[in-house]
Amino acid sequence: MPHVDEGTLHALLDGELGAAEVLEVQTHFATCAACAARLDEARQMLAETERLVAALEPPAGGGAAPAPRLVVGRPMIPVDPVVLIPNNPTPTEVRRSRFKIMAWAASFLVIVGAGFLGLEMRNSLPGNHKPGSLRIRPEEFTFANDRTADSGGSRPGASKPAPAAAADSLSQSRASSPQALPPSAPAPPSATPPAGRAQDKGAANQAAPTQPKTPPTPAKPDASPSTAKDGTPVAELAAGAAAAKAVSGSPPGRAAPANAQKAAPAPAAASAKETAGPQQPRDESKATDDEAAQPSQGQSAEDRAASVDRAMSDKATADLDREQMRQRAAAATAALDREREEERAAAAEEAHRQEAAAAESSPATVDEKANVSRRIGLDEAARQLGGPLHAIDGMTRQLVGLVSPKLVPGADTARPVVRAVYVDRNGRTLYLDQQRVRPGQLDLPFTPQVGPNGQLSWMAGPVLLVLQSDLPQDSLRALARRVR
């Protein structure tokens, strides 16, 4: 045979030659010192290359690091722009995402429920209302009762046709506004604070009905028509009589304290509003008294009083809003926190259970289970094998040790075998057993072979490799391909 070319030498060292070729080449080495020397040189080149390339380990630990998890259903925060491929969520992830969905649903329900509660409380005015009803009946407006004897009839001190007519139109609008309100009742009750607020503003805008009463939440247009109806009559009346203003002022004014009282469960907030509330009607009543007495006089004093009123009621309204939002947020957070705690507790329990189970099921050490008589380091392994230890790419090695050759089919029984122990993701062990063959050793698996116990055996240069595990065959083959 002609001398062995470099490519063939390396193919031999890489375990890529077929049995026949290996035999041929080995026969040649027996008679050609030059080629045997070149083989040694090639072996050193190979080993050094492996060392150099291994020095290029990525900082994070390369193959030993676990694969990054691609999590589907992680909500809210788009963290990695590189997460492109969805992964089947594990049961834990599914459970967690379900918890999250439930948490959000729960907090939404809490918000809605708190709103309905507030609504009910507002509607359960002293005596006359069915809970849950949105109708605010005219007789509930104490101002109308106090100030103007009856809402639909004549007014004290304002026997003018215009106010009367306006009052009629007002009572009409009032009659219609309860009708406007019920349609919005099924909708989330955040409509009613805006309606209330708008009505507050209506109270404040007695003298100068400048703003259209748009409710703060744009999603509730139902509120605006009713308040607009309130607003328009007020606008019409403003040019005219004070009594009409009183009428228009009072219903919303009465509603304001009602809102204030009922929508704020916190006692502090309620008391604040109760003080604010009664003040308003009092102030407004004063203002209306003034206005009723001097409907046509210069407006400066009234304006000032009215603007003070406006400012106060605006502030009260703003406070009310803030308080309500704070409470809703707190309730939602509390609900979320509760959910999270439960989830954490469940997860912790699960972890404990798993640990306990794991602890119970593995009393023996890895060495014992692997029948390793003695652990060895990489340098001793290299000495035993005449070259670097073979490893399975991408798997984490548990230990390297010596085992009896009797445990390794095909091994030379006169010398120990180097065993590299691996454990896969599912806790199953694999052994990559390695032994340098001696010259003249028989029955070597020059082509990969499957043994009686399902083990895979093949040659990598002068080293016999045996991969043993209770994994299925194709997994073993796949792993064998990853042996370096």
């Binding site: 470099e6 890529e16 080149m45 150099l52 990525p58 390369g62 491929i85």
Partner: protein
Amino acid sequence: MTGDAGRLFEEYHDSLVRMLWRRTGDRDRAEELAQETFVRAVAAQPRNPRSWLFAVALNLVREDARKALRQGRRLQLLKNELEPAAPSADEIMERDERAAKVRAALEQLNERDREALLLKAEGFDYEEIAESLGLAKGAVGTTLARARRRLVEAYHDMEGQAKHAAR
């Protein structure tokens, strides 16, 4: 399909990123290229995923390298790597120097040789290397032989230069 993609990812991601890292020296770029490769794999659904993935990844590197070369970035990267760090007995410094030298030596190889070497380091057999790089299987041994020899020689040259410079 998503299950397949997930499995593909789990099985090959680490190896691919490591190979790309060794090839490019840039961790972030390696991750990006790997993700790009997996995205394409989902679309293409190759029959031999491992060879295909690495072949595509190496193609992407080549394209990228060509672009960078035009922009002068690669030279800058090389320059940065070869700049001697302040002498220090720190182990980490030594490791980085060594890695820098290895990468510089790797850069001296032909593209083919370098790629074959990196694929072999990821556990590819000759058939897979041939498939990924478009070589005849019989040529892989020669390619690796040449690559290994040149790498070792280049590295020794670099060490020799460093020693000379230190003197």
